[in-house]
């Protein structure tokens, strides 16, 4: 029994740091997903109290609007806070991220967490429906500011990761081609590598478009829409990369079988 405990303790000590990084990252993401869900629920409750007040304009129902509205605004702040923390954890633990991006994200997150605390204080002091309306409008503007800088840097980080993977894939394609050229009867292999090369070229175009689009994640403007557009380019690049990998894998199997 003691030995088992000791073995587990030693294994935990050795693997602990590696497991901890993964656990912190997945924990941060789970926290964001949970906060997002809670924010949606709070919004639904708030909308319902507004409907209730529209049909029955009692002071109690009006007070419920203020109460649920405050809960909703706090939940929205929880959501953005969780996202910022998750993105910071992700960037700090990604070996592919440059120090410049890591530092930029960390500094923006720190600055925005302080802004979030100010917003929380203001929301907690709301007592009337008019004040709630004013605070909501203020938060809508502030919300974009809280997300924009970090979103732009996260986009830059994703572009960097995309380019790293593209370089690795291009390198593999070149090595496979070098091997294929040495073989007789290699037409089918070269055809697959040509397809892979074409996919990689399209992926590069998509990554470049994503990079240009993420640079437009700015205020004033439509930062979240531009962020979504950048993401769509990267989703296409991901599909291109997977197609290229598939073609390269088939070429690899054919070369190995010769």
């Amino acid at each position: 029994m003691k030995k088992t405990f000791l073995t587990i303790a030693v294994i935990t000590m050795l693997l602990g740091p590696v497991m901890a990084v993964g656990a912190i990252e997945s924990g941060s993401k789970s926290a964001w997903l949970g906060a997002k869900e809670a924010s949606k629920t709070a919004k639904t409750v708030y909308n319902q109290t507004q409907l209730n007040y529209a049909t029955d304009k009692t002071p109690e129902n009006q007070q419920k609007i203020v109460n649920t509205g405050k809960i909703y605004l706090q939940a929205a702040l929880d959501e953005v806070e969780a996202w910022l923390l998750w993105k910071n954890t992700e960037a700090q633990n990604d070996p592919r991220a440059t120090d410049a991006i890591k530092n930029s994200i960390a500094s923006d997150v720190e600055k925005n967490l302080s802004k979030i605390n100010n917003f929380r204080q203001e929301v907690s002091e709301v007592t009337t429906q008019v004040e709630l309306g004013v605070e909501t409008l203020k938060l809508i503007g502030g919300y974009l500011e809280l997300l924009t800088d970090v979103a732009r840097n996260v986009g830059a980080l994703w572009v960097q990761i995309g380019n790293t993977l593209l370089n690795q894939a291009s390198d593999s394609e070149a090595k496979l081609r070098e091997a294929a050229i040495k073989l007789n009867d290699n037409a089918d292999i070269i055809a697959k590598l040509d397809q892979a090369k074409q996919e990689l070229s399209t992926a590069q175009t998509n990554v470049n478009s994503a990079e240009a689009t993420y640079k437009q994640v700015k205020n004033p403007g439509q930062p979240l829409i531009k962020f979504g557009e950048g993401n769509n380019y990267l989703r296409s690049a991901k599909a291109n990369l997977l197609n290229a990998q598939q073609q390269m894998f088939q070429a690899f199997s054919l070369i190995s079988a010769k």
């Binding site: 003691k2 030995k3 000791l6 303790a9 030693v10 997002k36 924010s39 605004l73 929205a76 959501e79 953005v80 996202w83 938060l139 809508i140 919300y143 974009l144 997300l147 979103a151 994703w158 990761i161 995309g162 993977l165 690795q168 894939a169 593999s172 090595k175 496979l176 070098e178 091997a179 040495k182 073989l183 979240l224 962020f227 979504g228 993401n231 990267l234 989703r235 991901k238 990369l241 997977l242 990998q245 390269m248 894998f249 690899f252 070369i255 190995s256 010769k258």
Partner: protein
């Protein structure tokens, strides 16, 4: 109890260190390159006929391994791009 844990931890660390020493001892510390070979024997290995039969001598090295390609696929699949919505909706 604490003493036992301490002793067993020391044994574990010592065995790791010993394992490392044994592994190190079985490896040449300075691999012989063709220049060393030439100095020692006066023969150039590049000119020496290869009498060993290599059954895979006609095989072409693909340049990458299956593991490389699997790793690439898993790295690509790990990419996730979450859109942002929220209060501005």
């Amino acid at each position: 109890m604490m003493k036992k844990i301490l002793v067993l931890s020391l044994i574990f660390v010592f065995s790791l260190a010993l394992g490392g020493c044994v592994k190190k001892a079985t490896q040449p510390t300075n691999p012989i390159d063709s220049n060393d070979y030439e100095q020692n024997t006066g023969e150039n290995p590049a000119e020496k006929p290869n009498t060993e039969v290599n059954p895979d001598s006609t095989k072409i090295d693909p340049g990458v391994t299956k593991e490389d390609l699997d790793k690439l696929k898993s790295d690509i699949n790990a990419l996730e791009f979450e859109d942002l919505t929220g209060l501005s909706e």
